[in-house]
Symmetry: C2
Subunit: 354 residues, 2 copies
């Protein structure tokens, strides 16, 4: 009797279809026009209740899934955001991505993730891919100013996370590196340390620069000179800082305390200390930037600055959502606090102990 009945004879065999169902198929199956089908499925515009039901039924009968790209194309808007980090194997970046991805999903966005392995070329390529995909925005831990230039020129909204190259000219979410670093150094100084080595991989990015600055400011405040030989370039992997640690700790005038500027460096330094058979904190004190699981598992635990990296990612995504909502708003740099976790890896220097 009803129009829908004409479907009755044949069993529904969505799984046997060769071609994926389109909205046109749904429309035909429901006996309505393509536009009505679209309206029924999206819920926008006037559609009679009965028709809506009929269309919806036809849709999942056919296993119809809206073609997101066609939709994006037509609506000129995308629900995916590009995320670019330096190294997914590094827990810091993985957590960051996890934070972004989860928050994104809560808001109906999907994360397209690339890890550039620290290569500026790969960074550039990745950004081009994002632009090609017309992502709604990009969240990145930039490697170079070229990255922000490119995105700016391409008019693709972006948020820098963890470090920034834009000097406040674009959105960014970072932590208070200067402050956290200063407090760490203060702590060591207050214990009586004077020869505090800073193991650091770079001072060109805001992260490294700020952590270095915090260290300097702390020393300055205590009227201590910065000894250049104690600023130790650690290289980019744990192996490098391990070797550097072995070197530095083998020197006659070895440091009494070490400040590792991130988790990778800390790992290397820790291993280097083990290699030499030194004991923490008796022979050398150790503090680290970033918290990593192992820092609370080794004995003694390593005193560290903990960033809530997942929250950092989520905050970056929040900023992104704001940016999308208000494209013309003034850029904001969000500075999150970092927490200091005292554990057992520091002690007064040997010379001050009896």
């Amino acid at each position: 009797m009803t129009v829908a009945d004409e479907e009755d004879g044949k069993p529904k065999r969505q799984s046997l279809q060769l071609r994926r169902a389109t909205i046109k198929d749904v429309a035909r199956a429901a006996g309505v026009s393509q536009s009505t089908a679209a309206r029924a499925l999206s819920g926008e515009g006037y559609v009679a209740e009965a028709v809506q039901q009929r269309v919806r039924a036809a849709a999942d009968d056919l296993g119809y899934v809206r073609h997101a790209m066609a939709s994006s194309l037509r609506r000129q808007s995308s629900r995916s955001i590009g995320v670019l980090v330096s190294d997914l194997r590094n827990a810091f970046y993985a957590d960051l991505a996890a934070g972004v991805g989860r928050r994104a999903r809560e808001h109906g966005y999907t994360m397209v993730l690339v890890d550039d392995r620290g290569s500026v070329d790969e960074e550039r390529e990745a950004l081009a891919v994002f632009v090609a995909m017309r992502v709604a925005g990009v969240i990145l831990t930039p490697l170079s100013a070229a990255a922000v230039d490119y995105l700016t020129r391409q008019r693709t909204p972006f948020v820098e996370a963890d470090r920034t190259f834009s000097g406040g000219a674009s959105d960014a979410v970072v932590i208070d590196n200067v402050e956290a670093s200063r407090r760490m150094a203060d702590h060591l100084i207050s214990l009586g340390h004077r020869r505090i080595a800073l193991f650091i991989d770079e001072t060109d990015w805001t992260t490294g620069a700020d952590r270095f600055r915090g260290y300097q400011e702390s020393l300055a405040q205590s009227a201590l000179e910065v000894d250049e030989s104690l600023i130790i370039p650690s290289g980019w992997d744990a192996g490098g800082s391990r070797r550097a640690a072995v070197d530095a700790l083998s020197r006659r005038d070895r440091p009494t305390a070490i400040f590792a500027a991130n988790n990778v460096i800390a790992e290397g330094v820790w291993r280097g200390i083990q290699d030499l058979g030194l004991r923490v904190p008796d022979d050398v004190s150790l503090v680290a930037f970033d918290d990593a699981p192992w820092m609370s598992m080794v004995t003694p635990g390593v005193t560290a600055v903990a960033q809530d990296t997942v929250a950092l990612g989520a905050a970056a995504m929040d900023r992104m959502l704001e940016r999308i909502r208000e494209p013309e708003a003034a850029p904001q740099t969000l500075v999150l606090p970092a927490e200091m976790l005292p554990r057992g890896s520091t002690l007064a220097p040997l010379s001050l102990r009896r």
Copy 2:
């Protein structure tokens, strides 16, 4: 003199454009038809050398970036692959994703990554998103048989990684869990352990089931009974297994050795052991499935089964590429070997030492 000259007067201001350049704009700028522009940019079909150059010049003059979605739509093919893992904060999954992402990129594919936090609902949603995006394929660490059913019904190629629900009916890349587990148990038995606790979170997936089986087989081979009270459900997070470890090790007849079925469990067990002030391996031996950085940093190091997780991800992507190339080929399950890393966390049980 040449046609190109007519561009000379005006300075190029790609950055001042309000609308993003389309291929039509490029065509107009180069003085050719849209189709010629397309051919020039893609390199397909006949295009005169000079024209090609002119078009390319116009393109990057305008900052043109091909609209990947429009292109995908027209060509009915996509260059992105969906990756679904359980928890990006877990190094295992992060590494897996890193492996997939890198291999994907080498082949011009982009990774769309979702982490479902172990929720079957989120898993389902994520897969729907992938289908909506018409990804070329999906690589996943499935949570449920529903996942593989859905993808099968949607005719979306997929590769299961780490565990499989399809019993060989689809592509999968796993490691040899039974064998690795058996060797671990063998090792403990050969040291003289008889009360070996297996801390495990699930035995429903192939990972858990196989690890359990390896353990059983090993005991059986030594004519030992499996004591049900030593198969300890650890819960899904480190906190849970920490508590479980404290419990188990407080029992009068406590196990002399513990086999932790994955890195998260191992972390919890380790912390639990510390909580009780017990020493490894003197008071209890510990071995783990999965290798994690901390296992080689604590003292003593934890004897573990190491999987090359990044390689696992890469292998899954390789399988995916094969599948895309040959959609009708028979499904393959790739079994990668795992390596055993003996460190210092095992010793004969106290009763056998003098």
